[in-house]
Amino acid sequence: MKREDLIKKWLDNELSPEELKAFKQFEDHEDLVKLANGLKRFKVEDFDTDLELKRLNASLKNKSKNRNNWIKPILRIAAILTICFGSYYYTTTLNTNVTTLASQKETIDLPDASIATINAESSITFNKGKWSEDRKVTLKGEGYFKVAKGSKFKVQTNNGIVTVLGTEFNVKDRNNYFEVTCYEGAVNVLHKSKSVILKPGNSFLVINGEYIDRTDVSLKNPSWIDNESRFASIPLKNILLELERQYNVTITVNNIDEEQLFTGSFTHNDIDVALKAITLPLNLTYVKANSMIILESE
């Protein structure tokens, strides 16, 4: 057997007794043994497996507390989803509100083909999400509605509820003044315990809680839509209030009977023309300073 093979066998501790004898015949055999013994002194300090295992299990236990980390990202995702769904739900179920200031008009497309136009200093509130179940708007002030055919359409005001199926009508709900005018179809007005059905051309008027019966309307739509306010036997007080709303002015009266009835109209485009339209028939004069107007009898 070759020398190299013998040494390799020696290295692997696989020498048979005869081979060992042969190995011992090598002149450098002493050197090899010395080397082998010297190497043994490099033995690593004892590795205590049990102790190390305990150490490992201790640190794994600590880690396992953190192993619940996967919950955190899931919670994060859940939070984001909640916020998304929440805000989606909130915005879709939120009431839509449109408000106009003085001398402002606004036309609003309602969720179906219905259209609402609101006059100055008015507001309308409705819910897009519930529209298909319940066509209901809450109105403050004055509004003109063109209602598409369909289920009941309700206009709720402080003074009463107006219910229709599909028609055109005007609702005016101001302080102590409640007027509903029907232009097409049929309108049911519920005021306090009084229920009235209006036919085209009919109007329902309550001033200071007093019902005034009349049938006078021959127009296709309310005059204010065409930038004109038209009145028939309406107390002057209400006319001046409307004038204030249309021009965003303050009107003071001196020695004038505000309860006197006025029939006529004023435009929304020119305040001087409007003032003249009111004052001339009633023999009044007016003084205008900025947004202050004083009315006096002649």
Binding site: G38, K40, T49, E52, L56, L60
Partner: protein, 171 residues
């Protein structure tokens, strides 16, 4: 062996058994390859923690080589091929009868030469050679640990021996 284990070693009992079986080998391997200054014990801990964290992904038959690869990489991340200077015990293995001062001096000199020579071995040579010489591992066992052939182990060990003897003569 490990193949008898189940799908993975996430089970605590199996994992502990696995630790007992391989922790010392891993430690010795890391120690002889990279030396003691990088704290092989801690690397063993870290390697097993990694294995535990990935126990679902590592197949049982791959667990051992996974472990050794992780341990090796952890070391490599820190070591920048600095010289490995292994420590040896101060007291000689065998007590000779003639412990004269000259003999002790010679002995000391020899150990220092040996230490230097060991440092000069390649990492591959050193780990295989010392596992064999010091831990008494068979070539076959080392081959299994390092995932190489027995022939390659033999070659490394014999090469290491040759190089050591040359170095010692030269120094």
């Amino acid at each position: 062996m490990i193949k008898n284990l189940q799908e993975n070693i996430c089970d605590e009992m199996l994992f502990n058994t696995f630790f007992k079986k391989h922790a010392k080998d891993l430690h010795d391997f890391l120690h002889y390859k990279f030396g003691n200054h990088l704290n092989p014990k801690d690397k063993v801990q870290e390697s097993f923690i990694k294995l535990w964290e990935n126990c679902g992904k590592v197949k049982p038959e791959k667990a051992k080589s996974y472990l050794f690869t992780v341990g090796n990489n952890l070391m490599l991340n820190e070591v920048k091929h600095q010289k490995v200077k292994l420590k040896y015990s101060e007291k000689p293995q065998k007590h000779h009868t003639n412990e004269s001062p000259e003999f002790l001096m010679e002995e000391n000199e020899y150990m220092q030469k040996l230490q230097a020579a060991i440092s000069n071995l390649t990492e591959a040579q050193r780990s295989a050679f010392l596992l064999n010489r010091i831990e008494g591992k068979k070539h076959r066992e080392i081959a299994e640990l390092l995932d190489i052939s027995t022939k390659a182990v033999e070659k490394r060990i014999y090469g290491a021996l040759k190089k050591l003897r040359e170095d010692i003569k030269e120094i």
